[in-house]
Structures are given as C-alpha cells and as structure tokens.
C-alpha cells in the first residue's frame, strides 16, 4: 500500500486550472523529484498534499500508516522569517506542534526529540543562536530539523536549495540523501534537475509535458527527445 495515492487530480487557483488529470502514487522509500517550469503547479500540488488547499477535482488518499499531519514540510523562506527574532531551539521545537493538540506546553520527550534532530542535522551547537544570524545553509538545516520533528516517514521539500551557493547546495543534497538512506520518503520540488537527478528514484514532471515514472525511464525519454 503506497503512502500517498493521488488520483485524477485537477489543481488550480483563481478559477484557472493549472494541472488536470494527474495521477501518481508515493510509496515508502521513494525519492521523488517534482520538476517543471515556473507556474506549472508544483507548489500548488505540494500545498494540496499538505491539506492547505483542496483540489478542484480528484482525490488524495493516505495509507501505509501515514497521516496527512505527519508529513514533514520544508517550506520556502518567507519575508516574515528574514528578521524574526527566534532561537534555533524555539524553531525546531515548534515542529512538535502536531502532536500537542490543545496541550499548551512541550513535554520532556518533545524537547528530547528536538535535541536529537538538531544533533542529526549538525546544528546542536547553534541551539541558542538567533535564526536570522545564520547562513542560508544553516537556516535550511534548522527548518529540516523542525520538519523531522513532525515526521518519521515522509518529508516534503519545496526548493530546499533555492538561494544557496553551489557548495552549500551540494552539501544540502547530501544531507537529504542521508535522510533518504535512513528510511525517510522524500518528495522534493526542484528547479535544478541535473543536481537532484543522481539521487532521485522517481520523477514527476509537470507543465506542458506531464511525465510520471522512474528516473531511468525519465532519462531514457530525455535521450529520445534529443
């Protein structure tokens, strides 16, 4: 049973349909790259999977023990975050929100989980530092640690390397690769097909030409198009 099954999805906003008739499924252990031009509906698809907006048509079903709320989400940086006074620890801890319900304060095990994930992302010594003073790569690691607090199973990454320099980008892909190796399913939006391709197991291409399949099929098809 796959973790996510999308069937005959139509997506759009403001009365305009961007994607229609999209079907694909995500199983445990996949490393799925979602590629396509700007405005092809990549981020819209992601928000729909997260339940932040509803599809125009079609359905998304979660299975294999995954619930919608248990998806770890790495969003693109917002204007607000750029000068937000918050320590790394505060931000990582906020990833535990999902398991709190109406309980007002964090428990010890949640604080430990946050500490473990900071350790895992190699940012433990930055715990008391202010988020806005960190480098772009460090900030992404903080947000990854937060996403890991929300999930054991599946990470959704929205352009995790946007605005990072080449060296840090390569480093980021290694971190994501390691997470994939440790058993986390990866769903990643990216512009940068060539960088991400070596790691991916599956590709979903949105836009003019819709493609859904394994990486090898995708590369074969790219060869033929040339």
């Amino acid at each position: 049973m796959p973790q996510i099954v999308c069937e005959n999805l139509s997506l759009g906003y403001g009365g305009e349909v961007v994607v229609s008739g999209l079907s694909f499924s995500v199983s445990a252990g996949m490393y799925l790259c979602i590629v396509g031009e700007n405005g092809a509906g990549k981020t819209t698809l992601m928000k729909t999977i997260l339940g932040l907006r509803s599809p125009l048509k079609g359905s998304i079903v979660f299975g294999d023990g995954l619930r919608q709320r248990e998806i770890g989400y790495l969003s693109q940086q917002t204007e607000v975050q750029r000068d937000f006074p918050a320590s790394v620890r505060e931000i990582v801890l906020s990833g535990c929100q999902g398991r709190m319900g109406f309980r007002p304060f964090y428990r010890t095990e949640e604080k430990e989980l946050a500490a473990r994930n900071m350790e895992r992302m190699g940012i433990a010594e930055l715990a008391e530092r202010c988020y806005r003073d960190l480098s772009g790569g460090q900030q992404q690691r903080v947000l990854l640690a937060r996403a890991l607090c929300a999930t054991q199973k599946l990470l959704l990454l929205d352009e995790p390397t946007a605005g990072l320099d080449p060296e840090v980008t390569a480093d980021m892909y290694r971190v994501i690769h390691d997470l994939h190796q440790s058993g986390v399913t990866i769903l990643m939006i990216t512009h940068d097909v060539t960088e991400a391709l070596p790691y991916a197991t599956h590709i979903l291409h949105l836009g003019g030409r819709v493609f859904w399949g394994t990486r090898n099929e995708y590369m074969r098809e790219e060869e033929e198009r040339r």
């Binding site: 932040l52 969003s75 937000f84 505060e90 937060r146």
Partner: protein, 282 residues
C-alpha cells in the same frame, strides 16, 4: 524631592489614581504582548485602524444613548478586527488598503454622527479626549477598573496558554497548518483579543495613541534580544515600566496620561536602539 514624594502619597490616597495605575499597567502588559506578534506578522497598523473603528462605534453608542457604551463598542470593534485580519489573506482590496479604508471611514462617520445628533454641549472637548485620552485621570470609575482587570487577566491567560501556538503561527503559518494547527482559529482569537485590548486602552490613552502602546515596546525589545521568549518578556516588562513611570509623571506634572506614556515609550525605544547597536558592535 521630598515634596514630590509627599505629593505622590497624597495623590495615591485617591482611589481613582490607584485605578488609573492598575488599569494602565494591565493595558500596557496586554498590548505589549500582542504587539510582538502583530509587529512580526506585519500587522503594526491594525491597532491604529481598530482604534479608529472604536471611535466610530463610540460615536454611535453616544448618539443611540445606551447606558453602557461597551455593549456597542466592543462587538463592532471585534467584527472589524476579524474583517481586517481576514482581509490580509485573500481579499479584493489588499490588507493595508483595507485597513486604511475602514479606519478613516469610521473616523469620519463617527465625527459626522456626533456633529449631527449629539447635544453640542462640549463636542470638541469630548472628541479631543476620545482621540488623545483623558486629560486628567479622573474619568475612571470602579466598575471600569474591574472590567479592565477581568478582561486583562482573561487575555493574559489566553496568551500564556497558546504561547507556543502563537509563536508557530507567527513564524510559519503554512508549516503550522500543515502539521494540523488550526491557524484560522488562532487568527480569529488574535483578532478578538486585539479588539478587546484596543477598546480597553481607548479610555486611558485615546484612540490615536493606542498604536504606540502596541508597537513601541515590541520594537524596543527586538533591538535588544534575539529570541522570541526574551523579546516577549522584555517587551512586557518595558511596557509596564514605561506605563507606571508615565502615569506617575502625568499625575505629578499634570500632563495628559496617554501622551506622557507614549513619550516615555519613544525615549525607551531610542535608548534600546542605542544599546542594541552597542551590543552588536561589541
């Protein structure tokens, strides 16, 4: 110096001076806590907009002639707050324009209503004290103080109980919603609490000066501290100190309460900016 203390003691013997101190401190505390969230979420202007709405509502209440004006002012202001916070997201008219529109319209309509219908005994005096706060603090009654105390404690309780959610939604609303936090509910609650604090504060500092209570302590605290908890605590402490100091000065010097406190808030901001700059150089 000693004469000053004697004078202060004399004033403090009056219950209405004590009421003013209590209410002033509570309002300062509540508005500064809210201020941190509002400033960070780019809603600094909402306090200003809402206070204009509250002025309009007060005019309506005066014209209608109800005995307890709160029964009209509070619901209208809460409604406007919900409208404004919603407008930020997906409206035809964008956030800041919507706030500006609603606020000047209520200001104009309020003044117009008063002019046409209210008994013109001391119109300009009334309007002036609604806009800039009471010139003396004689206006607070015991009942008003108790209403302020109850609402403030309620608001404090809500803030502490939902502190971590407020942080999560302010820092990253999409992420918070993705993990199942009901951000819509918290935004609604925020609107509600902001409206209540604005209405409470209007009696003391006046409609035009409330914004200063909301934004200055938060901005000052952000110059000094770099994590959310410290900023929140510092903002609250600073605001309470400025209010206390300001009210005492106003009592002793006979200056208008609202304007005095705001002047001290501004001075505190300048000091904090300087200290923050020194800290970052060191």
């Amino acid at each position: 110096m000693e004469a000053l203390f004697v004078k202060l003691q004399l004033y403090l013997a009056y219950p209405f001076v004590r009421y003013a101190l209590i209410v002033g401190v509570l309002i300062a505390l509540c508005s500064s806590l809210l201020g941190v969230t509002l400033v960070l979420r780019r809603f600094s202007f909402i306090g200003d907009g809402l206070s204009h709405v509250a002025f309009g509502a007060l005019a309506v209440a005066t014209v209608v002639g109800v005995s307890n004006k709160m029964t009209i002012v509070l619901p209208i202001t809460i409604f406007a707050a919900v409208l404004m916070l919603r407008a930020g997201k997906n409206a035809i008219i964008k956030g800041d324009a919507a706030i500006a529109m609603i606020s000047v319209a209520s200001l104009a309509f309020g003044y117009l209503l008063l002019h046409i219908f209210a008994p013109p005994v001391n119109l300009s005096g009334d309007v002036c004290s609604t806009l800039f706060g009471a010139t003396s603090i004689l206006t607070l009654t015991r009942d008003e103080m108790w209403i302020s105390v109850v609402l403030s404690v309620l608001m404090l309780g809500i803030f502490i109980f939902f502190y971590h959610k407020i942080f999560a939604v302010a820092f990253d609303e999409d992420f918070a919603r993705a993990v199942g936090t009901n951000a819509g509910l918290y935004n609604l609650m925020l609107a509600f609490v902001v409206a209540v604090v604005i209405v409470l504060a209007m009696n003391l500092v006046g409609a035009l000066l409330i914004s200063a209570f909301v934004i200055f302590p938060a901005l000052s605290a952000m110059r000094l501290f770099r994590n959310f908890f410290a900023v929140t605590v510092c903002s609250a402490a600073l605001s309470v100190f400025c209010a206390l100091f300001g009210i005492l000065v106003a009592v002793l010097a006979g200056t208008p309460v609202g304007a005095t406190v705001v002047a001290i808030d501004v001075a505190a901001f300048l000091l904090c900016s300087g200290a923050g700059r020194l800290k970052s150089i060191a």
